[in-house]
């Protein structure tokens, strides 16, 4: 009894005493990467940025080739032609609190928070990828790549036979190890840029090899890492499978 009184009035810290670090943070001022990622990204990209249905972000290769500006741009505006939505709500320029208009429909992150996500991904998951081949550029029209890459689907067919057909089938019909690519619904929902990204990075979390992985079980002995142009060519081939108008759902 006396002891508890002593702790009450004395210096001991009681379990109920609130810690200033736990005080609630305004949702628009939360800049902790883990929390932001958990609340906004992991639904599609998976816990810890992998094993989600959407492409993994916890991927050294991806984070190495994708420039920070691209990441920021994609989170801010969403990715056109895919299911990636825009996340920007209010930006710093709208410091005038008397009247603010949301910048992107449905978005509720500030530009500071988007920056925290971009920086956080690179800090937590970035690093040197385990690839010795020269890295293709992330964007097809990378300014560093001296003009936009134009893919050639005929050459792409050769690259496809070497790099993809082992799993996805000769005509993209899918096989035991890899799913169907020649699927109108799939091709309607992904942009060329997303195809490019997946061809380059593969999906390490699901066992799909990247552009340079010899993957002996799936790729022929003659496999050589894809070049920047090879990637563009394969994407051109896949894009050529896309039907002009998506079919009505089967009734």
């Amino acid at each position: 009894m006396l002891l508890s009184l002593l702790t009450l009035t004395g210096c001991g810290k009681l379990p109920g005493q609130p810690n200033p670090d736990d005080r609630p943070v305004r949702p628009d001022q939360m800049t902790d990467f883990r929390t932001l990622f958990r609340e906004n990204c992991q639904g599609c990209h998976g816990a810890d940025g992998r094993m989600g249905p959407a492409p993994p972000l916890n991927d050294k290769l991806f984070l190495t080739i994708a420039p920070e500006s691209s990441l920021r741009e994609i989170i801010t505006n969403g990715r056109h032609g895919t299911l990636m939505p825009a996340f920007l709500g209010f930006d710093k320029k709208q410091a005038d609190l008397t009247n603010r208009i949301q910048q992107r429909e449905g978005g509720h992150l500030t530009d500071t928070q988007i920056d925290a996500i971009v920086k956080g991904m690179r800090a937590e998951w970035g690093g040197k990828p385990d690839v010795s081949a020269p890295l293709p550029s992330y964007l097809a029209d990378d300014p560093k790549a001296k003009g936009a890459l134009v893919g050639d689907k005929d050459n792409g067919a050769d690259v496809y036979m070497m790099a993809c057909a082992g799993c996805h089938g000769d005509n993209g019909e899918g096989g035991k190890r890899g799913g169907k690519l020649n699927d109108p619904a799939f091709l309607a929902l992904v942009s060329d840029q997303l195809l490019r990204r997946i061809v380059i990075t593969g999906r390490a979390d699901l066992g799909m090899p990247n552009f340079a992985d010899p993957a002996p079980a799936a790729r022929p002995k003659s496999f050589a890492p894809m070049t920047n142009q090879d990637v563009a060519d394969v994407v051109a081939l896949l894009a050529s499978w896309r039907k002009p108008a998506p079919p009505a759902p089967a009734k």
């Binding site: 508890s4 009450l8 009035t9 009681l14 379990p15 109920g16 005493q17 609130p18 200033p20 005080r23 609630p24 305004r26 949702p27 628009d28 958990r38 609340e39 906004n40 990204c41 992991q42 639904g43 599609c44 998976g46 816990a47 094993m51 989600g52 249905p53 959407a54 299911l83 939505p85 509720h108 899918g174 799913g179 169907k180 690519l181 699927d183 109108p184 619904a185 799939f186 309607a188 929902l189 992904v190 699901l206 066992g207 998506p246 079919p247 009505a248 759902p249 089967a250 009734k251």
Partner: protein, 494 residues
Amino acid sequence: MMRRWLWSTGAWLEHRLGLKDSVWPMMRHPVPRGANWWYVFGSATMTLLIIQIVTGICLALVYVPSPDQAFESLEYLNYHQYMGWFLRALHYWAATGMVCMLFVHLTQVFLFGAFKYPRELTWIVGVGLLACTLFMGFSGQVLRWDQDAYWGVGVGASMAGRVPIIGPQVVELLLGGTQIGAPTLSRFFALHVFVVPGLLISLLVLHLYLVLRKGISEPPVPGKPVDPKTYEAEYEEKLKGGEPFFPDSMWRDAIFSFLTILVAVGVAAYLGPYGPRSVPDPTLIQANPRPDWYFLWLFALLALSPPEAETFIMLVLPVLLFGILIVIPFVSNTGERSWRRRPIAVLSVISVFVTFVVLTYLGFTSPWSPEMEAWSATTVPENMIQWTPDLKKPEDKHTLSPVQLQGAVVLQNKNCRNCHALDGKGGHRGPDLTDVATRLTRDELIRQVIQGGGNMPAYGKQLKPAEVDALVDFLGTLRPKDQPGARSSASLSP
């Protein structure tokens, strides 16, 4: 010398105050024998009220009842004011204890038939005390000026707005203006700190006066009904064999009250203060407002009741419930007091408690609410993305095809998870989709997605054909991997 001085001062005071003739007989009033541990809850409730008054006054020394600083002053109490957090915690947990103790006291009085002749008025005043206490609970939640408080007032105002004809005027009276703001907080402060405590204390004095005047009810004996003609004479007779309240009977109350204080202090020290949660900024729409626990049942009831019955539940039901409580001692004024001979009373207590517990649980889990962040925050279980059909061959993995992966993204992106869970995670407003493919065929899935139905909105306009295809492809994989998918009833019929 000292003793003589004390003695003479005492005598001087006694000559002026006359306590020996007024208070002393009250303390010594006889209590019927057998008044046992069941009789301690009322005094414990009062003890908690005293804690509330003391801590409340202390908190009012620091708290600022103005919306621009109320939240900051609460944080100041939590983090800077020495022992501020403890007083906030004690005020919260003693309030919780007071509501609990009050209901235990009420139940005990009800089951012991103590509300019957001649103690009807004591009961009615007690019902008034209950109303005051519940209002203190609600207004106390408003003074904790955070997001819950802000939207809680909004809910209260929206309910008041349903009063026929004068609804809008009632809303303005409640809010002190046309919007939730400074006048709202000020008036809840005035009510919580001046008006209702004043009322509460007055009613309590009346309650105690009535208890003294009509005496504590003797423990009921089955087969000895209350008869107004003879009851009071019999009670007088019993008192002759009774014991004086002070000190004989008071020890039990004292022991229980002191234990109650220790528990309240312990819980407060261990669990700490509640809130304030997020800042009361009405533009932060990612709010998830919830009432404090003693109103969760009402929260649940309002979500579950059919729309036609709602206005009735909001406006008439509370009046009706208090009306029933007030009418009880008149409807059942005489007769058996023992709960052993009052099956209806026992059944109604049980059903009220079961209803309360069930509704509170539902209010706590609120399965009817969409989970607003589930679409972006709740993951697709990994074993639905990639799984091992045969545990003996762990290297043989099955993975969703590209279109099925896109379908899972559609499921997330189109906010389906806000209402539909996978593996129990996500909203619970709609059915869990973990094994939806065993229930619905592809065609049925497409129809449900496009046309909606049941409580589900139609998504036809929102989904591109490719999105429907991908989504249904993914949903088709959602079944135990050793079970076939649902077959259409058409193919089953001969």
